[in-house]
Symmetry: C2
Subunit: 334 residues, 2 copies
């Protein structure tokens, strides 16, 4: 049995959506997963009882809660009994295989890093975000854990991203690209050029520079970039998608014929929205930590949180951690 | 009369679309604009004659053509008689008020900069791209002219972008933001933080940090960033928009009811596509040069190229150059 612990107090709608998600996951995976929730028992127990999950989900007590907008540095030092601190220690001590949290990203990152430490050879963790793409998905990393990454960091992201797509998403020999402003070698910053040169030396399926447009095409599986650039790309994507959907709905509401049209094409629109729904892609692994930690979007609903738990499950099941260690060793020795 | 010179050999479909665009512009603006085309007379004259524009459009002879994928550095030094070189010299010498080209971006940038020089106080030119947004448009700069901009460069971009939206787009007191990965002051790289601090000191309507999602909302008018980040954001936007439209069309073709729906909602879809059509936003000014130069997308069609000519027209008409000089002076003295 794989043991997954979720943060009972992370996100905008905790613990409600977290418990709803646990309910779905329990119904679907009770033969494969042992589930736990970390947080304040006096809040969590009644909620679990109400959902008839008191027997199925183990409570791990943690007395403090980190707010969504609290300073990560302060939360890290002052709230040693927060649900994130306790959850990360449980993973470190081997009590649980993974922690899933929709809480404060910076705090989750800082606390996990302090408690779990990094895998050998990895300098910094990266947030890996899955994006919808033609014929599949694309993994973008780093999506915001770091600003000012060096070429060595980007090289490590390439190794981890490739391992992830191969292990957790069963993509054979994933195509790895460096996010740049043109496909030619001479393009971009020195860091990006050095990273491309160094990744080309690795035993990866490296396809060179890719551009923002490639993120949604079937040209690349893993896209490596600095966290500043990755975060801007991710939020730009969210912004455009929401702009288009809003305008489409508004314009479809314009005339009687287009209203009727909208009614008839409603299923098609629904399928499209599902295809690009951030909820479907929820659950960003914090790669590089010596322990599995998955960040759910703070505003995730129950469906989205379920996806984040599945992401954690696949990482444990596919032994991602040891695969990354193996690949890092090969690189360090090579 | 405002005098606009277009590059007869820039872009994937030159001179065809360029001449088609001149034809539209001539029909619409013959009382306001004097039009010229720079390039090889033996190619351009027959084309102008065929379009019945031989009397309306003046040919400026230039013997060489820069290829779309030629190295900018080599084109700069070795093709002194290229249409871009000749066009930029004509603008420098006051023969024409603006140059519009769909040619090689790097070459256009490098040659314009060498020949026209920068406006006093501006260190580097920026490519300013217009994006569709809720209730209007957003100007993003730099969209790819520079990588590794300093905080001083970003400050100059803020001044120029604000002048542009005020002059050429008649936006009163444009809201200026710095593209970052969070709205809090502590977010981002040192360069971005220093830029925000320095822009806050200016006599601009500065609203602080903005994120990728803000680009398409009615929260900001001018978004300042490094050219690497801006280019990634721009191409990500193009990628998402095209992914959504392609999927929507495919899904709408799926069932009979949704086919009928698509038929009925066709006008709404057409209006949406127009709203996000890159052609509608074509024409990126190279701000900061001592002369008006507008870059059209290389794959622009005639409509899109028309828009780029209009962008040049508005810049000249609104005396953008002297407004930028004035604002830069205020900053340098302040």
């Amino acid at each position: 049995m794989i043991r997954i612990l979720v943060d009972g107090h992370g996100g905008d709608h905790a613990p409600g959506v977290v418990i709803e998600a646990l309910s779905t996951i329990h119904a679907q995976y009770s033969d494969k997963l042992t589930l736990g929730i970390v947080g304040q028992p006096d809040v969590l127990l009644p909620a679990l009882q109400k959902a008839e999950l008191a027997d199925a989900v183990k409570i791990i007590a943690a007395s403090e809660i980190i707010d969504m907008c609290e300073s990560p540095a302060i939360a890290l030092r002052r709230k040693k009994n927060s649900s994130i601190h306790v959850g990360a220690r449980q993973v470190r001590d081997g009590e649980w295989d993974a922690l899933v949290s929709a809480g404060n990203t910076g705090a989750l990152m800082a606390i996990s890093r302090m408690i779990l430490k990094m895998l050998p050879g990895v300098d910094r963790p990266a947030i890996a975000s899955m994006l919808p793409a033609e014929n599949g998905k694309t993994l973008l990393l780093d999506a915001g854990a770091n600003v000012d990454s060096s070429s060595e960091h980007l090289t490590q992201f390439a190794i981890m991203g490739s391992c992830y797509m191969e292990a957790a998403e069963s993509i054979k020999s994933p195509r790895v690209g460096v996010l740049n402003i043109g496909s030619e070698d001479i393009k971009g910053t020195d860091v990006v050029k050095m990273a491309a040169a160094s990744i080309a030396e690795l035993d990866l399926n490296f396809i060179g520079n890719v551009e923002g447009t490639d993120l949604f095409l079937d040209t690349v599986d893993v896209v490596v970039c600095d966290g500043f650039v990755g975060n801007v790309a991710l939020k730009t994507m969210e912004g455009v998608a929401s702009f288009i959907i809003t305008n489409l709905k508004r314009k479809l509401g314009g005339s009687l014929s287009s209203k009727l049209g909208a009614l008839l094409s409603r299923n098609a629109l629904r399928r499209l929205r599902k295809r690009i729904d951030p909820a479907e892609y929820n659950g960003a692994p914090l790669l590089g930590l010596n322990g599995i930690v998955v960040k759910s979007h703070g505003s995730a609903d129950a469906l989205a949180f379920t996806r984040a738990i599945e992401v954690a499950h696949r990482q444990v099941e596919s032994k991602l951690k040891s695969r990354i260690v193996e690949s890092m060793n090969k690189w360090l020795e090579g």
